[in-house]
């Protein structure tokens, strides 16, 4: 919010008819409606009726993009994303000989995904998230199986209602699995909103993660993605101050939520494989 980055200054888009430079979007001026200004507590139900450690309902459909080798559409509450995998295919840039395959990833918010308009060109934040997904996938894909080849992963967010980054990692790994590319394990991630040991929220929605209520109360946001069968951490990000001992609580709570999500995802993947078998 408060940091303006050189690389994310608005570039004039020559392909579109843009509004005047000092135009303001209506949502900026509207007063944000917030149900309460008190910190959430474990005992209370959240505004959307969930308990503190309840995940939002998950919907998953694999293989929706028939042209891609692997794809998935994932919905968690109102957060919707789509991931597609093309590959392994011959490497486009033949600069270096490499005994391991390469992974390229592109992450993008659709212009209508958030309340405010997202530029069609990939901005700084999206490039960083692309790199995170790339690193996480490089850690699970058996790259030695396809030397001199590359895998292109594309993740697009259709609607952002909180918990996007770990969900993008999850979608990318499910899509790679759907493409029949050999992986060590699925990558499954969840978000946690941490206030103190007694006040945590697992899988916050958009309002809980970025809303005015969360900005006033401070606390920390915790994104984590794990490899459920190998019991290792694939990705971790924490923003906001916490004590060193609280880091352990965050990791444990997130871990348990990720395992629950992983069971759901494995079950859905198994069903989708059975469906494709039936069609054949």
């Amino acid at each position: 919010y408060f940091i303006q980055s050189n690389l994310s200054l608005k570039m004039p888009d020559a392909k579109r008819n843009c509004g005047p430079e000092d135009a303001i979007e209506p949502p900026v001026l509207s007063k944000e409606f917030s149900s309460s200004d008190k910190a959430p507590q474990k005992s209370k139900t959240r505004p959307d009726g969930r308990k503190w450690n309840e995940l939002r309902p998950l919907f998953m459909k694999a293989g929706i993009i028939t042209k891609a080798q692997g794809s998935v559409y994932l919905e968690m509450g109102n957060t919707k994303l789509i991931a597609a995998v093309y590959g392994p295919k011959e490497i486009v840039k033949r600069e270096e000989f490499s005994l391991k395959g390469k992974v390229f990833c592109e992450f993008k918010f659709m212009p209508f995904a958030k309340i405010h308009y997202c530029e069609p060109r990939q901005n700084f934040e999206e490039k960083i998230i692309s790199k995170c997904i790339c690193d996480a996938m490089e850690g699970v894909i058996l790259l030695e199986r396809f030397p001199k080849a590359q895998v292109d992963i594309s993740v697009q967010v259709i609607e952002d209602d909180g918990g996007v980054l770990p969900l993008a990692l999850t979608a990318a790994s499910v899509a790679v699995g759907n493409a029949n590319i050999e992986i060590k394990d699925l990558v499954v991630g969840t978000t946690l909103r941490f206030f103190d040991a007694e006040n945590l929220l697992v899988d916050p929605n958009g309002e809980e993660e970025h809303g005015r209520h969360s900005r006033i109360l401070g606390g920390a946001g915790f994104h984590m993605a794990i490899l459920p069968s190998l019991s290792q951490i694939s990705y971790l990000k924490q923003t906001g101050r916490i004590e060193q001992s609280q880091a352990k609580d965050c990791i444990e709570t997130s871990w348990e939520a990720c395992l629950r999500l992983a069971t759901g995802i494995k079950k859905l993947m198994k069903e989708s494989i059975e469906e494709t078998e039936e069609i054949r």
Partner: protein, 282 residues
């Protein structure tokens, strides 16, 4: 970073010696190379510093300007951090080669300074809802020798500590409001940097981890963690990156080590910056 070609034997040597807590230059896994800091070395800035850790040398300059407030945060000033790895630092940084590493360093610095209490942004507001100070922070790498993130964060804290902000007097109201910025070099105020974090980057090498790694050690690592540590010992931000998975116990150990190292560096840094301040005023 610069691509170092290591033979399998060299890699094995580095990994096994890290596991024995004895690195190729004689340091233990938690030791830093000698850190040199110099502040107020750039004359046309409000604050500046130079930090040298081993072969890595970074310059940070802070220039302040008066701008309109951001509509999302009308009572706060702003920071604009930019990172530049020049071609002098390494030949592969010529042209667009440095883009990825610059973005990564920028993302880590933004992560560290994105919380409202890292640097009290309310202090940077001049007139609520109208004008504020924008701090243009430029990080320039003169030489890269491993551990770029930590060097940048230490230099950044030193530069902000040395920053002197001119006093502004407001006269008139509404459209006729005028801001007069004093150019008296002694009529200045300083930023409060007690809550500025330092990034400690720990790389996972083999079964163990190391801080302040050289480029050769970086080649042999599988994954790394950036931990933002405050002088009070709290963790202000954390990010695990790199292709490689970590055991949760290993990660907790790394966080613990990072806090230990971070507190020590903060102590030494604050002591030296204070000493520099007092000699300057004398």
């Amino acid at each position: 970073m610069t691509s170092i070609r290591l033979s399998a034997a060299e890699q094995k040597y580095i990994i096994e010696s890290a596991e024995c807590d004895f690195r190729s230059d004689g340091r233990t896994c938690e030791d830093y190379r000698q850190i040199e800091i110099e502040t107020r070395n750039l004359p046309n800035t409000n604050g500046s510093s130079r930090c040298k850790i081993g072969k890595t040398e970074v310059l940070v300059g802070v220039k302040a300007e008066v701008v309109d407030v951001d509509i999302h945060a009308p009572t706060q000033g702003r920071l604009n951090i930019s990172v530049d790895c020049s071609a002098t630092a390494s030949p592969e940084f010529a042209g667009r080669g440095s883009e990825t590493i610059e973005q990564e360093i920028l993302s880590v610095l933004n992560l560290l300074y994105s919380s409202i209490d890292a640097l009290n942004l309310e202090d940077l507001c001049i007139v609520k809802g109208e004008s504020c100070w924008l701090l243009n922070i430029d990080v320039l790498y003169i030489q890269c020798g491993g551990n770029l993130f930590d060097a940048a964060s230490i230099a950044l804290k030193a530069a902000l500590h040395s920053t002197t902000m001119p006093n502004v007097s407001v006269s008139g109201e509404g459209i006729e409001m005028e801001l007069e910025i004093s150019d008296d070099p002694y009529h200045v105020w300083k930023l409060k940097t007690s809550m500025c974090p330092i990034c400690i980057t720990l790389y996972q090498i083999g079964e163990s981890f190391a801080a302040d790694v050289s480029e050769e050690e970086e080649e042999c690592s599988t994954g790394y963690v950036h931990v933002g540590v405050l002088s009070s010992g709290e963790v202000s931000a954390m990010e695990k990156s790199g292709a490689g998975n970590m055991e949760p116990d290993a990660l907790l150990e790394m966080i613990e080590a990072a806090v230990r190292i971070g507190e020590h560096i903060h102590q030494q840094l604050d002591k030296n910056l204070q000493a520099e301040c007092t000699t300057a005023t004398l």
